[in-house]
Amino acid sequence: MDYLYFPGCTLYTKAKNFDQTARNCSLLLGFELKELPNWTCCGATFPLSTDNLMALLPPSRILGKARERGATLTTLCAICFNVIKRTNRLIQGDEEKRDKINNFIEMNYQGDLRILHYLEILKEEIGFSQLREKVKKPLVGIKAAAYYGCMLIRPYEEMEFDDKEKPTLFEDFLEALGAKPIDFPFKIECCGSFQSVGSPEVATECAYQILGSAIKHGAEVVVSTCPMCTFNIDHKQSDIKQKYLDFKTIPVLYFTQLLGIAMGFDYQTLGFEQNFVDPIPLLKEKGLL
């Protein structure tokens, strides 16, 4: 089974490790990510004003092009997923805006693509019980904190991903890999998002709260689905250390990197050099390397 795949800009740069591990793992799991040709930026944020159709054009073009090639489109980055899924829903439900957008981009897209996040493929198409059977190296003993951030689940009426206050899909995934998911109250809190540009201290504080809470609840690794979150909570750890001297860093990995370990890939293919905190000592300690 192949899935049409929209990587998004970050997965070609800062989050190459996310992209590569996802592609490699999919082959072992029996599906291939077929990259959408000539893709562009997703728009990066779903417009907050109701009449800002211009901001909807980039995701609409992506959707239109994807529909010419298939019926399902998959993404990895939580922000791309959010923008694309919400735009798709809007085109589906709002005839007037659909016509305006189609006129402008000279396409005729009706909003009938199915937008799937990679985690949803694992859950709904492969099945977590099947995934469990395919795991070669169960992550036994790893206490992993599933960090959802906001973009996967909110607004929940549009994302229809999981419960908005108490999601469990990500934890179920970690459990299928053999890890021990840790529940912590900050798993659905904002990472600080673009505050890291304008008010970096705000984003640092967010990251400190999230990681601090995960560590307090026993996490040994924090798992992310979003390059933005990862930038804020992983790479901000140097700033946190400067402000909070007793802060101990913690590895932050993409869920596909953990999946890669569990599927038995050589750790050198997992792109750990792009992670701020090296997870190798932890993996060695757990006997996974």
């Binding site: 419960d163 908005k164 206050e165 109250p185 809470s213």
Partner: protein
């Protein structure tokens, strides 16, 4: 009391039956029944629960006078029970309604109590000896109740019922303690629901309200945090007849909470997610809760998150002001976005919109003023009666302002919170109005 009393002559004229049925034995139904009884008309009062009193019986004190709810209500319930013209059908539900004004035939299901109330003297021995203890719904699941129970020691009628889903005999075919102990042999495990027919000329529907379940609020922990309770639960905690005999002790560990957060408008005035309307009583009862708490826990701190203070009744605004000025209650104008447990603490995240600051409180107990909603089967009852409900399920009156107790069907009236959120004073006034409408109808024939 007077269940088998013969119908007196003279309550029917030219086939128009001058006898009323009141559905619902809360303060509205009781008030309407007493009015009609005192006016000389026979009344059949149908109540779903084993005894009358309704929601008011669950309350501790009432605003704005802070007098004890049971002390003011019990004389009314007793009067109802002993009234020569009021026939009580408790533990009963309306099954079918036929006919028209002056000639309704109502089929009432008398639910199996598994106790022969004719024989029962109300001695209470069975409840004392019953070995099955379960979370007691009347106490919002906090205290323990027996499988054979009355709702309160002053229950009217003071006759117990058995809840088969908690009773060891029904579950395991063992026990039969109540049967052995009962001095009048009133226990009857074989009892079945039975039906009685009542002929009445008018019906007042006073079926009351429910609260939107705290389990609906994901942002407040889906009801999974034991010390996040609703307003009625706080009433029970504060009530001398409640699970803590009136001491404010939180459900999880029985500790006296020193930091208590109250959240008004939980599910009310929230058109996007819950109920768009104002539940009308929460501003006042939250202020009352806060003050009662302070009267009992002098060194406790109270935080009240509110949107607006709506205190439009007689003496209400003064009551709120007194709480703010004299009792040190901290009012924070803003909403709470999230409540979660972190270790042993309940973390409350909110905002004070007057200072524009985020507020974080480590609370020891949180009380949600959850929205008033209709009873879940109000719609079914409305269908049986041929009357209408609004988009939320409240019963609708003919005209919002000028005909507030009449329905589209002549002879059927509404009273109390079944029509929409009301405080006690308004519910009683509404019931008095419904009763006088019935008297007017009867007087015309």
């Amino acid at each position: 009391m007077s269940e088998n009393r013969q119908t007196e002559v003279g309550n029917s004229y030219n086939g128009f039956i001058k006898k009323a049925m009141v559905i619902g034995g809360g303060i509205a139904g009781i008030s309407a029944s007493i009015d009609l009884g005192n006016a000389g008309y026979d009344v059949v009062l149908v109540e779903r629960l084993p005894s009358i009193g309704g929601r008011m019986l669950q309350l501790s004190e009432t605003f704005p006078t802070l007098d004890c709810a049971q002390c003011t209500l019990t004389p009314k319930t007793v009067e109802t029970g002993q009234h020569p013209r009021i026939k009580l059908l408790t533990f009963s539900e309306v099954d079918e309604v036929e006919g028209k004004a002056g000639d309704f035939t109502v089929k009432v299901r008398r639910k199996a109590a598994y106790v022969d109330w004719e024989k029962c003297t109300g001695c209470g021995l069975c409840q004392e000896k019953c070995p099955s203890k379960n979370p007691f719904e009347f106490d919002r699941g906090m205290g323990l109740g027996k499988a054979i129970y009355t709702l309160s020691p002053q229950a009217v009628p003071n006759k117990p019922v058995i809840n088969p889903s908690n009773c060891r005999y029904f579950l395991e075919k063992k026990c039969r303690v109540c049967e052995k102990i009962c001095p009048t042999h009133a226990i009857d495990y074989e009892q079945q629901d039975r039906f009685v027919e009542e002929k009445v000329g008018a019906i007042i529907t006073a079926v009351g309200f429910d609260l939107i379940p705290k389990e609906s609020f994901g942002e407040y922990g889906y009801g999974e945090i034991p010390d996040v309770i609703d307003g009625l639960a706080f009433e029970r905690l504060n009530s001398a007849s409640g699970p803590t005999t009136g001491e404010i002790r939180r459900p999880s560990d029985g500790k006296i909470p020193k930091e208590v957060v109250f959240i008004q408008c939980t599910g009310s005035r929230d058109p996007e997610r819950y109920m768009p309307y104002c539940s009308r009583v929460c501003c006042m009862y939250t202020a009352k809760h806060a003050r009662l708490y302070k009267h009992k826990v002098h060194d406790g701190q109270v935080y009240i998150f509110y949107m607006d203070i709506r205190s439009t009744g007689k003496g209400y605004e003064e009551f709120i002001q007194q709480g703010m000025e004299e009792e040190g209650i901290l009012y924070l104008r803003g909403r709470v976005s999230r409540i979660f447990r972190d270790g042993g603490k309940i973390v409350v995240w909110g905002v004070d919109t007057l200072t524009g600051k985020k507020v974080e409180v480590y609370a020891e107990m949180v009380v949600l003023a959850t929205a008033i909603i209709p009873q879940k089967d109000t719609k079914d009852l409305a269908k049986k009666l041929g009357i209408t409900t609004d988009e939320y399920g409240f019963l609708t009156e003919v005209e919002r302002k000028l005909r507030p107790v009449e329905t589209d069907v002549e002879g059927i009236y509404i009273a109390g919170c079944a029509q929409g959120p009301k405080d006690i004073a308004d519910a009683v006034a509404h019931a008095n109005a419904a009763a006088s409408k019935v008297q007017g109808l009867f007087a015309r024939h």
